[in-house]
């Protein structure tokens, strides 16, 4: 696990960013599925509260970017990372991430000053959701380097997409429930969509990290790393399963802020451990 602890800033970045961004997928579902907008028309203060709290996932992504800065030897030149656009997978990741941040912040500011009409809201929140998914995929793709055989697999983006959907989903529910809005959207397709999204997210996360581990197990040179990562892998997967339960229970039973908050905490820890496993599996095809 040595290499994992050397990459703590990157593990923090990939965890916080994918979870924060993913919250916008659930927010988009809430506003697109109709029932929320309709029921909130009668209680604008609830809508206002959702909008205010939407800063939580945005701050998570921001904290992720700040954590990534600690990884750099010259953080004050960080903007140079945009030079490789289209060529360097790392630049592409940063660009998509920044695009997400810009759209999410515009959405948040315009919503807060009360200038966001229902139509514009739907469009902006959907763009943010699409960018969130793209961001998650690009974070994973940036690790698909041909000379690093344990990372160079589609499992890398699949796992991050899973974290984004499952974990981000929980943070989205947190925002909605903290504004006491979940009970208003119990009707309509929102529930079914969110449950499916959490299931798909959990499946992708577990298949992603498990598949990555299996790929690494097949590589003789990685045998030390593989053996050391085993207990961490099990811990991460167990946490993801628990988080899935904590995401679904408030949707099929009574919405509860406590359960959702616990789910957020569990998913944060299990994704972080999953990321540590990922970095721990690092080897190159050479020396």
């Amino acid at each position: 696990m040595e290499h994992a602890f050397a990459e703590l800033p990157l593990a923090t970045f990939s965890t916080l960013s994918s979870l924060g961004a993913g919250a916008f997928v659930v927010l988009a579902l809430a506003f697109l599925s109709g029932s929320l907008g309709d029921s909130l028309a009668g209680s604008p203060e609830k809508l206002k509260k959702i909008d205010r709290l939407a800063i939580i996932p945005i701050l998570l992504v921001g904290a992720g970017f700040i954590a990534a800065m600690f990884h750099l030897a010259t953080p004050q030149n960080a903007l140079n990372a945009l030079n490789g656009i289209g060529r360097s997978p790392l630049t592409n990741e940063v660009v998509v991430g920044l695009a997400f941040m810009v759209v999410a912040l515009v959405y948040w500011v315009v919503a807060l000053i009360g200038k966001l009409g229902a139509g514009a809201r739907k469009i902006l929140v959907s763009v943010a959701a699409v960018l969130a998914i793209a961001f998650a995929l690009f974070i994973g793709i940036a690790y698909m380097i041909p000379t690093i055989p344990t990372w160079n697999t589609l499992f890398a983006p699949i796992s991050i997409l899973g974290y984004c959907l499952l974990g981000g989903g929980l943070f989205g529910l947190l925002v909605l429930q903290a504004a006491d809005a979940l009970k208003d959207i119990s009707t309509g397709p929102f529930k079914a969509f969110t449950i499916s999204l959490s299931l798909i997210g959990a499946a992708a996360a577990i298949i992603g990290i498990g598949g990555q581990y299996l790929v690494a197990s097949g590589i003789e040179a990685a045998s030390h790393q593989v053996a050391a990562a085993w207990p961490w892998l099990i811990g991460s997967i167990a946490g993801l399963v628990l988080a899935l339960g904590l995401a679904i229970i408030p949707l099929i039973r009574k919405p509860s802020l406590g359960i959702i908050s616990l789910g957020c905490l569990v998913v944060l820890c299990s994704v972080f451990v999953g990321r540590l496993v990922f970095y721990a599996l690092y080897i190159t095809v050479g020396v």
């Binding site: 030897a73 790392l90 630049t91 000379t147 190159t284 095809v285």
Partner: protein, 206 residues
């Protein structure tokens, strides 16, 4: 495309590491940094057969490696800042230290472990093929320092006539980056991916 490359004669190298220290001296490198490293690769078994006769296939050989100024340079591909670049005049791969942010992607991806982030300097560092000397029509210091003349440097077409593209253990399969290092392997040289052998001086080279 690369114009120059290194030559290494495995039948001459004694693993004395004069090349390593000549390079450290020229580049004023601190503890923990060496642009050229000599891998000591050791393996094999000594066994006793039924009749009590002992036989051994143990071997050890050394390979001196810096940056191979690869044709398919993964370090350039991954670098987000374009700090890692090919000098347009010499084709040698250099780090523009004013642009590099020290993200370490080059260090992660190079299978020869040539680049390394120097956090004190704030950027990635590695062998630049003594780019300054080459532009003056001189040879790299490691080549001049080698007491057994095991190391060489020159135009790739000349090197190709002298040896084969490096493809021996413990280095990676050459097709990943197309290294511009041509070698005359020693008799004991083993193919890439050999098991039952190891790098005997990991603290010195990794």
């Amino acid at each position: 495309m690369s114009i120059y490359g290194f030559y290494f004669d495995g039948t001459r190298c004694t693993a004395c590491k004069t090349c390593v220290y000549a390079c450290k001296d020229k580049n004023d490198l601190n503890l923990g940094f060496a642009y050229r490293r000599v891998f000591e690769y050791t393996g094999g078994d000594t066994t006793r057969d039924g009749a009590g006769a002992i036989s051994s296939d143990c071997f050890t050989y050394s390979v001196s490696v810096s940056c191979n100024h690869c044709d398919n340079a993964v370090c350039i591909e991954v670098c987000p800042t374009a700090a890692m670049h090919r000098d347009p005049q010499t084709g040698l791969i250099c780090v523009d230290s004013s642009v590099c942010i020290g993200c370490g992607y080059c260090a992660l991806s190079c299978p020869y472990r040539a680049p390394k982030v120097d956090r004190a300097k704030g950027h990635s560092v590695k062998c630049d093929g003594c780019n300054d000397l080459i532009k003056d029509d001189k040879a790299p210091v490691c080549i001049l320092a080698c007491p057994t003349r095991a190391l060489g440097f020159g135009k790739i077409s000349e090197l190709q006539a002298k040896g084969e593209q490096v493809n021996i253990a413990p280095l990676p399969e050459k097709d990943y980056t197309l290294p511009n290092m041509y070698i005359k392997p020693s008799k004991d040289a083993r193919p890439v991916g050999t098991d039952n052998a190891f790098i005997a001086n990991p603290l010195e080279v990794l």
